[in-house]
């Protein structure tokens, strides 16, 4: 071979070699590829100039020199693998290097019975073609192949079921088909238009077709039609196929209905949510109303208790006055002189009220009087001594008041006189009781009315903080007395401009909160309320020895509905009310809590 052999003539040589299943390469002496036939490499051009060891697994320098027959200057043939195929290689030394010929080993053996092989191959092809035909005929899609002038080249039985028509249609078009079936040409026109579209755009198109099957069921067919090009880019033929998507369509339709339904439900839900939100708002409002009711409930039970006692005292007072009066009128008064009556009245007027005297103390005093009487008034009948002594004690006459005792004992009717003194004393005492009891009742009522008066339209006025807080403390007296020690030390001179009723709400919520916190502890509750003036601001402190409030809770404590007191009737609005009232009064609240105490600091800026 000459160096100046043209590449194209080499191509021809190698092409012919390929027909005899020989693959070859031309190599330089160092193994660099000058030319390689295409079977040996997937991209033969790219291998030119590279080492043959990239193709076959050998080292040209080492392996080949071992194989070189020093006599013939020819290489012994040897086996080598390439792409999982065994090759027998033969190298010849040429003037430019080597010529490498490669025979696939499998092919070498096959060639022996190549005729049998051809038969087998033919059979194989036949079976393959049968396989594809089977697929084409049984695939659940319509398949039709058209020539570029829209004539049928092939239709599968799914496309046209009738064998006769299927055979008839080959080489014909849809217009022929319409004529054959006696149908209007509308379908054919439509199909032609689609076909033209494919031919023009040279792209696959798709559309959906609705038909009725033999039994009248609605069917939806998804059709696609696309060009197949020849090597020059011309449309060789057009393949059309259709798929029954009725069930998919059905699902899609169901989905779309479901989607619409969901949208409707969503709309409904939205409405429900809006409604619920409104209801929640209403509820929140009603809870806040309920909160008021609870407060009113608590108040009224407290008020009932605080009113019951003075009312009871008034009732008993009235009864006992009636009783004493009857005593006076029935026996005593007629037996006493004018002077005695005046004296008894004076005594009753000046006497200190004694509500009750314990039996032991009374006994002791009576004993003392008995001794005194025996010592100083030996003339008294011994049977009268005890009665006189006991009446002296009950009339609250002191043993040191010797003049009075003298005047009583020395009178002609000491027992009647003493009875007069005692009864008037009792009347006076119970009158005082009635008076203070009614004052107490009036105070409860006035505190309550201040508390419950509708101040909605009230304008802000000067509020003396001390009095304002004291009113609330009185209202909560019943709850506080239980087990809370209260230190109340708010400067009476401190005033702010505010709404009394709102401030009542403020204090009562703080008080309620403190009482409830204190109830959680074992130790005796201590509540301190005190004030401080700081840089023009007024600070009021509510300090209790209730349990430590963790920091996470501190953050939440002023949130609406937040409550830790699940067992109580707390709706968690209390401290949020506090916050809103404070906002109205340009005031702020802060909270500090440790194991010893929890302090709410309210700061009113002027």
């Amino acid at each position: 071979m000459q160096n100046n052999i043209s590449a194209s003539s080499l191509d021809l040589v190698f092409e012919s070699l390929r027909f005899s299943h020989v693959y070859c390469a031309l190599l330089k002496a160092d193994g660099t590829i000058i030319y390689v036939s295409d079977v040996l490499a997937e991209q033969p051009i790219s291998l030119i100039g590279k080492s043959i060891s990239l193709v076959f697994d050998f080292d040209i320098q080492k392996d080949l020199s071992n194989c070189l027959d020093s006599n013939t200057k020819e290489f012994k043939t040897f086996s080598c693998r390439y792409l999982n195929q065994k090759f027998r290689l033969s190298l010849k030394v040429t003037d430019f290097g080597f010529t490498l010929l490669a025979y696939p080993e499998a092919h070498l053996t096959e060639k022996k019975d190549s005729i049998d092989d051809l038969k087998a191959l033919n059979k194989k092809l036949e079976s393959q073609s049968a396989f594809f035909e089977y697929i084409l005929n049984n695939i659940p899609s319509d398949i039709a192949v058209f020539s570029p002038d829209h004539r049928y080249l092939f239709v599968n039985p799914q496309g046209i079921k009738d064998d006769k028509i299927r055979k008839f249609i080959i080489g014909k078009d849809d217009f022929d088909y319409c004529e054959f079936k006696g149908l209007p040409t509308t379908v054919a026109e439509k199909r032609r238009a689609l076909f033209d579209k494919v031919m023009q755009s040279k792209e696959e198109i798709e559309w959906e077709e609705e038909i009725k099957d033999a039994v009248g069921n609605r069917k939806v067919i998804l059709r696609k039609m696309g060009p197949v090009f020849d090597e020059n880019g011309k449309v060789n033929f057009v393949i059309g196929y259709g798929m029954d998507i009725s069930s998919r369509k059905l699902i899609e339709e169901k989905l779309s209905i479901a989607k619409k339904e969901i949208e409707m439900i969503n709309l409904d839900l939205e409405e429900i949510v809006i409604e619920k939100t409104q209801r929640n708002l209403d509820l929140a409002k009603s809870i806040s109303e309920q909160e008021k009711l609870v407060t009113i409930g608590e108040l009224s039970s407290g008020v009932a208790h605080d009113l019951n006692t003075p009312i009871g005292a008034i009732k008993i007072g009235a009864e006992s006055i009636k009783y004493s009066f009857e005593n006076l009128l029935r026996n005593t008064i007629s037996e006493c002189s004018q002077d005695q009556i005046i004296k008894a009245c004076e005594l009753a007027e000046s006497t200190n009220r004694v509500l009750y005297v314990g039996g032991l103390q009374q006994r002791r005093e009576i004993k003392e009087f008995e001794k005194y009487l025996l010592d100083y008034f030996p003339g008294i009948e011994s049977s009268d001594i005890n009665q006189i002594a006991s009446m002296l004690v009950k009339s609250n006459i002191s043993i040191t008041d010797t003049d009075l005792i003298q005047s009583i004992i020395s009178s002609s009717n000491p027992i009647a006189f003493l009875s007069l003194i005692f009864n008037l004393h009792t009347i006076k005492s119970f009158l005082t009781t009635i008076l203070s009891a009614s004052e107490r009742a009036a105070k409860v009522v006035s505190d309550l009315s201040a508390f419950s008066k509708d101040h909605r339209n009230d304008e802000k006025s000067v509020v003396v903080l001390h009095n304002n807080i004291a009113s609330v403390l009185n209202i909560f007296n019943f709850a506080l007395r239980k087990n809370v020690e209260v230190y109340f030390d708010v400067d009476p001179s401190l005033e702010i401009i505010g709404l009394e009723i709102k401030l009542f709400q403020l204090w009562s919520n703080l008080l309620k909160n403190a009482i409830e916190s204190i109830e959680e502890t074992e130790t005796k509750g201590v509540l301190k309320i005190y004030s401080e003036e700081r840089q023009g601001a007024i600070c009021i402190y509510f300090e209790n020895n209730g349990p430590y409030i963790p920091e996470e809770t501190q953050k939440l404590i002023f949130e609406k509905f937040y409550t830790t007191k699940a067992k109580k009737n707390g709706s968690g609005l209390g401290l949020s009310i506090v916050k809103s009232v404070l906002e109205e009064h340009n005031a702020s609240i802060s909270l500090s809590s440790d194991k010893e105490k929890t302090v709410f600091q309210l700061t009113f800026t002027r």
């Binding site: 208790h305 019951n308 005292a313 008993i316 509500l355 006994r363 119970f430 007395r481």
Partner: protein, 136 residues
């Protein structure tokens, strides 16, 4: 003093109540042999009950308020009953915790419960049988 055999004890932190009781009790209790003692402070009452018992004075009954500072009437009654199981107790209250009263009644620690405000008759109905059983 020698004639004194019995005592009645009243415990309420409100002096008004004690005054009312004083007025009502003196009507039915024979003070010739019975002392009527009044306490506003439960712990003072507790100590004095012990003192009376030591003096061999028989306490006929005690009347106790529920809501008091330091301790509730229920707590006082339980404390007394622990030492003097036979002592008869009457509770007089307008603000009692129904649960603790119920518990007291279940534990047979209460002779009767009188709600405030009370009528003289109700009080007398409660204490008359006790006094009569004493005299019999």
């Amino acid at each position: 003093m020698d004639s004194i055999k019995y005592a009645v004890v009243c415990v309420d932190d409100d002096p008004f109540i004690l005054q009312m009781l004083s007025f009502q009790l003196t009507k039915v209790v024979n003070q010739k042999h019975t002392l009527i003692e009044y306490f506003t402070d439960p712990s003072e009452a507790f100590i004095n009950i012990d003192a009376l018992v030591e003096e061999k004075i028989d306490i006929i009954f005690i009347i106790v308020d529920y809501q008091m500072p330091e301790m509730t009437g229920a707590q006082l009654i339980r404390a007394i009953k622990l030492k003097h199981p036979n002592l008869k107790c009457i509770m007089l209250s307008g603000q009692a915790n129904p649960i603790s009263v119920e518990e007291l009644l279940q534990d047979e620690m209460l002779e009767s419960f009188i709600a405030k405000p009370w009528n003289e008759e109700v009080l007398f109905q409660a204490i008359q049988p006790i006094i009569e059983s004493l005299e019999a």
